[in-house]
Amino acid sequence: MEMQDKDFDKLFHSKLDDFEMQPSAGVWEGIDRELRADKRRKLLIPFLSAAASVVVLITAGIWFIPKMSGVNTKGSGKNTVAVVTKPAVVTAGPKKQAIAVPARINQMPVAKVTPVRTISPTEVRKDTATPIQSVAGTVNANAPKRAPEEVIAAVSQPPQPAITKAVVPGSEVPLAVKNPSDVAAVAVAEQPQVQLPAKENQEPAPVKARHKVRTLGGLLNLAIAKVDKRKDKVIEFAETDDEESNVTAVNLGIIKIKKEK
């Protein structure tokens, strides 16, 4: 019986083991279609995951920024933000003509020069004209960071002559402030008031201001300011001397978050 089963199996094996049937054309088409779809799915996966991670990053960023406000206790962070935003925006500055300055930079030198001309003598006028132009030049050069710095230097000049050394732009600025009559000094003094917020004026810290550019946050802010001219940049960083630079503000159009401290 065992033997017969083997023979029986053999009969089937010998006849059917290499049995062939021609498949219809639809089979290959189905295989091909499925393999293409497979390939497309595989190509889509990296794209989708990239898109997903962008969404996750943005969401996480928005989520965590409010919680970080407790971390940055240094006052300098606040100051920094104020300085960076200043040039691009018209602040509620005290003086009339000055207010127009940031938006229309070209008008600034004209506005400044006119009062000086009327009051001061010729030689003085020459002197004052130079520093003002230099300030205007810096503003024009689209370096919002530096403009306020120099202005601060100019302002603090009359009360503390010692700072003169710290001023980078050159001997012209201090000269201009010293030489001209009180009127000229006032003219110069007016200018910074416009550019700077009230707080900055009260406690002039020119040296501090100059340090800020050197931090990573300052660098990033500078770069962002070149692209984003709005008051609230798309993202702003604290310019503390800390190793890490903290985000202090985010402006995504609809969503605006700003750390006020």
Partner: protein
């Protein structure tokens, strides 16, 4: 087409298929399609089912071709995938324990009696396709693929004992049908 197929050997085609070359996939398919449809047909009830199994099997072949090592026979590898794909097909589409026994129809008169020697492969194929899926799978795996009961038990997910009893009952059904087909002669011999 024959000329094109002969220009490539299987090893080259496999290599190209691993790289996802569409043309190579088609050539490889054409190389094995009719042979593998012959395999699938033994597990199927009809041609349509067999072609479905063949399609699923080849999709899996191309998806897993990267796993194939050149050590063994590629045809053997493809064939194993076809067998598994066919069994898988039944897991999805049929209840394995479905009992549509040919024994129930044992009394029907056979239409075309044939001599044993003249039993054509296509006749045997028809007999196998008429078996219930459970019998068919075990008989195929044991008698034609050459698996042991232990292996069959693992592949199908039944006990070895169930595999043995399914096999002998499958043989019984087949024998009955053959006797019917060829008349009394084979019945006397067996």
């Amino acid at each position: 087409m024959m000329f094109l197929e002969q220009k490539y050997n299987i090893k080259e085609l496999v290599k190209l298929c691993k790289a996802g070359e569409r043309k190579a996939q088609e050539l490889l398919y054409k190389q094995f399609a009719s042979k593998m449809l012959g395999v699938c047909a033994r597990y199927a009830t009809d041609r349509m089912e067999a072609e479905d199994m063949l399609q699923n099997g080849f999709i899996r072949v191309f998806q897993k071709i990267g796993d194939f090592r050149d050590e063994g026979s590629f045809e053997g590898w493809v064939r194993r995938i076809m067998v598994h794909s066919s069994i898988e097909y039944y897991r999805k589409h049929h209840k394995m324990m479905q009992v549509v026994e040919l024994e129930d129809a044992a009394n029907e008169p056979s239409v075309n009696p044939l001599a044993t020697a003249n039993l054509a492969a296509s006749d045997l194929m028809i007999l196998i396709q008429k078996l219930s899926p459970g019998y068919r799978i075990v008989f195929n795996l044991y008698a034609i693929e050459g698996y042991s009961h232990k292996e069959i038990a693992a592949i199908v997910g039944i006990t070895e004992g169930a595999s043995k009893s399914q096999l002998s009952r499958a043989r019984g059904v087949l024998k009955e049908q053959i006797i019917k087909m060829e008349g009394k002669r084979y019945g006397n011999a067996g």
